[in-house]
Symmetry: C2
Subunit: 215 residues, 2 copies
DNA sequence: AAATAAGTCAAGCGTTTGTTTGAAATGTCT
DNA sequence: AGACATTTCAAACAAACGCTTGACTTATTT
């Protein structure tokens, strides 16, 4: 029998439970639609525990990102650096190096939630959340863009910008996996089988980037 | 001198002012980050006026969509229907027919805000807002998907699904124009010049869809 | 076993949320 | 000008918001 009140059992993993609960809720709802009370109730913790461990609601998201994104970005940088001294890197491989680590997150339920959550944060228009994306994605993002620009010398800065918008959009939309496309297509597919998905995305995006310039 | 209190002047355009204010705010912030009070204050209207004219906060968004999306979707359907009896429609043209009317929204400030707002709503993970997208986009979305599936017989349903995810992602991300990519690329471009942008997007996405299947 | 630190608790802080009320002001019609 | 419907108003509703408090329980150290 699961006890409803956890009075005084102090098992010391409250911090983790809060992170896990927030991770799930933020995958299902936008940041401003999730309250600290919803998080702590789902975590079977006290409201004050959240502020004791993290300080603010925003800091909870910060902690979620720090927990998951460190390993991911290290992997991305390592993979991208391997292309840096290469004469003519294969575009599909570059794309897989950049997208793969953020897409192949199926080792745990929490990873799957983080995949969606991080995508939601990356699309949120609110100013407060825009800083987030910048702080966490700037380094690897700049590395990626430099590499793409080198592999795509046929594109002007303007056209590169628009095509990068398509690339980022595809990444964010597929990682969000919000279920809208399924409704239109009418079948029960999802963006979860990411080993196959990564191949298909890389094929699509590489062909898009390689296409002759319009201007 | 602009009077702060609009007591009793009853100029009868309160409804419009509320829609305009909500349109701007929802382009800048997510649905749950915008309150009815923020909307009515920006519209220089009374809080009760919003509920008098619309009933609920959600109905305001509904009204915004009805005001703008009717003409847009009629145009899309007309353009797409022209391909229906065509033997081999040109893929870039099909994409321009579908994307164009939702991207070329620069006739007024309100249209530009709606472009961003509608994209934000289309990406919001909240269940309540998911219905929205379905109700307003289903018909034209299904028409578009059928057409793409016909032009792309080399793709399995699974691969078509992933590539459509890339297409939708690019559309939504570029229309949102949330400024994150500019930060990474470091220059002052934007997704606002949409006559050129539409050409570049169609080129990219058509090449992606036409690429040989992976599976 | 006493002292200190770390964590959890119910309760409440002031503020904001979406929405409602009933009266007052305006517009329209005869 | 009088009557009736439409619109706007200040004020308030209960509920929920992020966050804080101070007492209390557990864990660690000595």
């Amino acid at each position: 029998m699961r006890r409803k009140s956890r009075t005084g059992d102090g098992d010391g993993n409250t911090r983790q439970r809060i992170l896990d609960a927030a991770e799930r809720l933020l995958a299902e709802k936008s940041y401003h639609a999730v309250s600290t009370r919803m998080i702590t109730e789902a975590a079977e913790a006290n409201t004050a525990a959240l502020h004791y461990h993290f300080g603010t609601k925003e800091a909870v998201v910060q902690a979620i990102f720090e927990r998951r994104l460190g390993p991911i970005n290290r992997k991305r940088i390592k993979l991208l650096d391997a292309f840096e001294n290469q004469q003519e890197p294969d575009l599909e491989e570059v794309l897989k190096a950049f997208i793969g680590p953020t897409l192949m997150l199926n080792a745990s339920e929490g990873e799957r939630y983080f995949k969606m959550l991080s995508s939601n944060i990356s699309m949120d228009p609110s100013e407060e959340l825009r800083r987030f994306s910048f702080d966490f994605y700037r380094e690897v993002g700049e590395k990626f863009v430099r590499l793409i620009a080198r592999v795509c010398p046929h594109l002007t800065p303007e056209e590169l910008f628009w095509r990068m918008g398509c690339v980022y959009g595809a990444m964010v939309y597929i990682r969000a996996d919000n279920g809208r496309l399924q409704l239109i297509l009418g079948h029960e597919l999802s963006f979860r089988n990411d080993t196959r998905g990564l191949e298909m995305m890389a094929r699509f995006l590489a062909a898009g980037l390689k296409a002759p310039a319009v201007f």
